[in-house]
Symmetry: C2
Subunit: 506 residues, 2 copies
């Protein structure tokens, strides 16, 4: 233990900074955990430390204004600093590393410590890695789901049933929420949809909706708006719904891992916390999708359904074709425009509209609105009738956007380049990951106009010289870089196209 005086350091950091000599005296290592007590106010906090040998002098402790106010302290105030106890959750993480089965209490403790920043980034990553390798059984996924639900707020509604949908990510152009939500709400069902922003993609649903209306709302606003117009499309990150999930995703992202048990719990926790009673889950299967084959997709679907049963939530899964973009547009404005065009009644039969109607149709059947097998047609009627467009305008309006927006108002970037077919043939393959990379290089999702418009979808005929796809960008230099990526990856394969001709020298 040492008595150290406060030095205010405002660099937006969440660690305390102390001198090397004090650290040695207390017995602390860089990144270690300390307990800081203001003996006068009785307030204490736990923090991680950074050790310095020059910035903070011996006898002082560098703290952010946030920490100082939590401690009810002030500049030069003397605080008692000691090594903090090792949180018991580390024992439970260790247990999972040793392939043990965690109890509900153990999982609650881990999730609570992750949510409250008691665990360091490294410690949280150790948990995720252990789950990725050793897995979670159904009981553990149930505990994890419940724990995540309890980590934040839960929506409550007066009308029922509450419907929700989720797509396992990774497929470009997947704007189906912009059709599914207004179709379902137009039929009188409630769908309070929270979505994410793009992490690795060219545009998350929240990014798309933001082109039409604000998406950052508190839980009470989501309840109120949903009760009033039947649905919303908001950014989940602005709410306090299942915040533990967000804390975990941050650490999964750099490793690009998908710890299956955590993923199932994350999805289900968000749905349960949003009050969902009927959930349709879209599982794209494909070589470049998260789920590679049908067997794995069926296994995942059964797990979702079983967890749903344990929480009395009806779950159905749609296993979908994942090796194609969902529709023609990739990137914020291109996708929003495409969705508005469909809502405005120009419904082209393609992966985007078919998948949207399929998902909405399953929800209608699950809710008992229509007989089994009638959902798709019912959803299609709502879309064609203009009721979905009217509902979308209500949703845009209640979220604070302009309800008079039309597809003509949403424009792609002013710089563009057409990629044309060098030979005639059929589109036989589209590389989803390459498309995402090109769209991101062009500026998506930060640049709203950036992205790709696909003129020729999978299976369509293209004649020599016709445009296969167009790259759009808001900034000229970004277009150039995206084009270089396109030349490198050649994301669309046309049957009969000669890629390269190598002549033998013999």
């Amino acid at each position: 233990m040492a008595k150290l005086k406060v030095k205010r350091i405002d660099a937006g950091i969440q660690t305390a900074v102390i001198n090397k000599e004090d650290a040695n005296q207390i017995g602390l290592k860089n990144g270690g955990r300390i307990n800081i007590l203001n003996e006068e106010s009785g307030r204490s906090i736990t923090a991680f430390i950074q050790i310095t040998d020059n910035i903070i002098g011996k006898g002082t402790i560098g703290l952010s204004s946030g920490f100082i106010s939590q401690l009810d302290a002030d500049d030069n105030k003397e605080l008692a600093v000691r090594a903090a106890d090792r949180p018991i959750s580390l024992e439970y993480i260790r247990k999972k590393m040793d392939n043990g089965k965690l109890t509900e209490n153990e999982i609650n403790t881990i999730i609570s410590d992750i949510t409250n920043d008691v665990l360091s980034a490294g410690e949280t990553t150790a948990f995720i890695t252990a789950v990725y390798i050793n897995g979670l059984d159904t009981d553990e996924v149930e505990y994890l789901t419940r724990s995540m639900v309890k980590s934040g707020e839960q929506l409550k509604f007066n009308t029922h049933p509450i419907v929700d949908k989720h797509s396992i990510g990774g497929v470009p152009g997947n704007k189906i929420t912009l059709l599914v939500v207004p179709i379902i709400a137009a039929a009188g069902l409630k769908i309070p949809k929270t979505s994410s922003r793009a992490i690795t993609g060219a545009g998350g649903t929240a990014d798309l909706m933001e082109a039409l209306a604000p998406v950052e709302f508190k839980a009470a606003d989501i309840e109120r708006m949903t009760e009033k117009v039947g649905g919303v499309i908001v950014w989940g990150g602005a709410t306090n719904i299942a915040p533990a999930d967000d804390k975990i995703i941050v650490h999964e992202f750099p490793l690009k891992i998908d710890a299956r048990g955590i993923m199932i719990a994350s999805v289900m926790a968000k749905k349960i916390a949003c009050g969902a009673e009927i959930v349709v889950i879209d599982i794209p299967v494909g070589a470049e999708a998260k789920v590679k084959d049908m067997d794995d997709a069926r296994r995942l679907a059964r797990q979702f359904i079983e967890i749903g049963e344990r929480f009395k939530v009806k779950v159905e899964c749609a296993i979908t074709f994942g090796d194609t973009p969902i529709g023609r547009g990739i990137g914020v404005n291109l996708e929003v425009r495409e969705a508005l065009i469909a809502l405005e009644g120009n419904v082209e039969q393609n992966p985007f509209t078919q998948k949207s109607l399929t998902m909405a149709g399953i929800a209608f059947e699950m809710a008992g609105r229509v007989e089994k097998g009638e959902g798709y047609r019912f959803a299609e009627e709502i879309l064609n009738s203009g009721k979905a467009l009217a509902k979308m305008k209500e949703i845009i309006a209640i979220q604070g956007g302009n309800p008079n927006v039309t597809s003509n108002d949403i424009l792609p970037g002013k710089y563009s380049f057409n990629v044309n077919a060098k030979d005639s043939g059929y589109i036989v393959g589209i590389k989803n990951r390459a498309l995402i990379t090109i769209a991101r290089t062009a500026g998506a999702p930060a640049d709203k106009g950036a992205g790709i418009y696909i003129h020729k979808l999978l299976g369509e005929r293209v004649e020599k010289g016709e445009t296969i796809y167009t790259i759009y960008a808001d900034k000229e230099w970004r277009l150039g870089k995206a084009l270089a990526e396109a030349r490198k990856y050649m994301p669309v394969a046309v049957e009969g196209m000669l890629l390269e001709r190598i002549t033998s020298l013999n």
Copy 2:
């Protein structure tokens, strides 16, 4: 990409701080990796970011003076900031998470990225966790060892053979290096011993030696001193020998994990980098030791020996009894005093002296100094003759300490408490972990006089009222806390001692 102006923030932190709006624009998440380029000087660095919404304004980037000088920039200098590429080492870590076998190149890349802070704490922990769970085969341990050796400096000597020793840690009072090094050096062999400071223990060997002489030296000093007097006892952390190991240990520590393959590589890399040709490894086995049973100890010993063979280093392992403290003293001064007493010729036969002579004896046999079976006696002669004491004084002197020090100069703490036997009997069990906890609570290793002196060793007879052990502290309040721990843990069991008497109420 964004152009941001430098704002100097000196809080000893290794991250760049940028505004939330700029982060969204560039497409960065908190903890993400950025590349910062000074277009004028051409200098660039990669750093992790912390995102703030108030400390650093839009259009600026908070950087430490260290980063600013690396970039050859200055306050208000405009820098180009973009999201950095994902290091390829993350793919290799992912491969180990998926239980793949890593190539030498892949391991080199991971270790290089850990050493150069390219990987975050979370990413490094993911690697350690994956190795802990999925293991490394002998090839991988060899690659890892070589990679760690190459991560830093290597000692070179003109005389041969170079001897080294290592004890797998966790056993309290393990001061044997203070006898082994002078005994071996007194026989004319070279032993450049680098040791660690206590992490979880009551005193690392470097902490002990520091009571006698400075322990922080550069590689060239270690070479020079070893050539001159035959041996040194220094702190490895002050050198640049196998620094990758130190970077890894920091992340293993909070999880208390011992990723076996990493541990073997760490030990062997330090020895190889120190130029060792003959290595004796002490593997304590016991219920509270790192290695729990003989089979596991033998397996570990074979792995050490095999890795040794691959690097042309002769390795022998001594599997030792790990469920007792090594000698009577635990804590810096108590251990140093005990070692000096033995060097001064008062050699009591106990675990400390027996283990020290055994280890030195094995080294003598391996070096061909004596016949097989003669090593222990040869080591004992050197100790009894006073040659080891004379050599220790030379080592103390060359490291800058006072060679005239005697065991009477090294004093335990001025506050003490005797724990006496409530009944007569034999010492039948000693809880090592409890002893360490009590010694640390008493102030060890930061308080030099703090610790425990054990009057009655395992198997010894104690009469009712006799002192079993004494707790020492430099500070009175710490003694009180240590005593409370002692009452809680009761670390020494006496046969026949009634622990508690519970009377039935029936």
